[in-house]
Symmetry: C2
Subunit: 165 residues, 2 copies
DNA sequence: AGGTTATCTATCGCACGCGATATAATCGCG
DNA sequence: CGCGATTATATCGCGTGCGATAGATAACCT
């Protein structure tokens, strides 16, 4: 019959897929304390690092687009963590700004610790870093050509000539 | 200000999260040819290896539960790839069986190739295997211990102080 | 200037993932 | 045997992801 033995773990894509699910579940207790979902927490991380970013700017860092971010940001606004206001200079953009409550949440978050990394790697920080780098390298090779996010934001973009297709 | 520079890639959880998204996008062209979503494809993989499994059996392999699988399986049934029938011996269970169309899809799938693994690893199979193993090891350390139901009860002697909670 | 094109955000629809709960069948135990 | 506990699946609600598309505003071009 079709009793071909199947080991799903032989598929790299399933390994990553299922690992991401497992990580999500492992993060859940911490996020519940903050009252945030994981994507919401990522947005707060981005805003804690730099307030007043645009929807698109946040999306560049998180690899998300407005169809995902707009509803998410509205929920964060309803929860009282952020304000959403059109940029006066460019009315197409929406600037996301932390409220006092949103900034305060950062202190709560700092008090919490991601416990599962220690539990899994048992102090072997090098192994954790190596794995992290390999995974991000894999991701960056898969993503369509987009400028490396954090660094590009630092330097003022000199007007260059993008080669057109 | 709060201009702490943020490198999200320093977080292992974000690395995995974003890598899983990237892998999903990379798989999309292949899945579109098959007319399946990625979770649907995983279910088909499981069934191609062993037909006639129960909902729970499939869920064990994919780390999913009936709240996710039931609607997904109904869609596969609507698409004509599977049948869902109650097990005669145990009417609680639902057996999932491939249709002829479902089996035929396997041949189509075999003709397709996951191209991005080669593109990313450029023939370095060892690197791909090593990464895969590290990721699955991470996942397995994160997942709660699942005891094979009946067997664990046998070995357990009569220490009848159930954990109060 | 005016018309075209590009950019930015929002909206809609669908498919997961999952917590909470419901329902039905089976098991366990006196 | 009967009744409570357990198991298997289903249902409901919400929050993402994401393709497709719409709408408004800005940039561009001759």
């Amino acid at each position: 019959m079709t009793e071909t033995r199947l080991d799903l773990d032989q598929y790299l894509c399933f390994a990553i897929h299922s690992a991401a699910q497992a990580v999500g579940r492992a993060n859940k207790p911490l996020l519940d304390k903050l009252g945030l979902t994981y994507p919401q927490f990522l947005v707060m991380l981005v805003l804690w690092a730099e307030d007043g970013q645009t929807v698109g700017g946040i999306g560049d860092r998180l690899f998300l687009e407005s169809n995902t971010l707009t509803p998410l940001l509205k929920r964060l606004e309803t929860a009282g963590y952020i304000h959403r206001t059109r940029d006066a200079a460019d009315e197409r953009q929406v600037r996301i700004r932390l409220t006092e409550k949103g900034r305060a949440l950062r202190e709560t978050a700092k008090g919490e610790k991601i416990e599962w990394v220690d539990r899994v790697f048992e102090g072997d920080q090098d192994a954790a870093q190596a794995l992290r780098q390999r995974i991000t390298a894999l991701r960056d090779k898969l993503l369509p050509e987009k400028l490396p996010p954090a660094k590009a934001a630092l330097a003022k973009p000199a007007s260059d000539k993008p080669p057109k297709e």
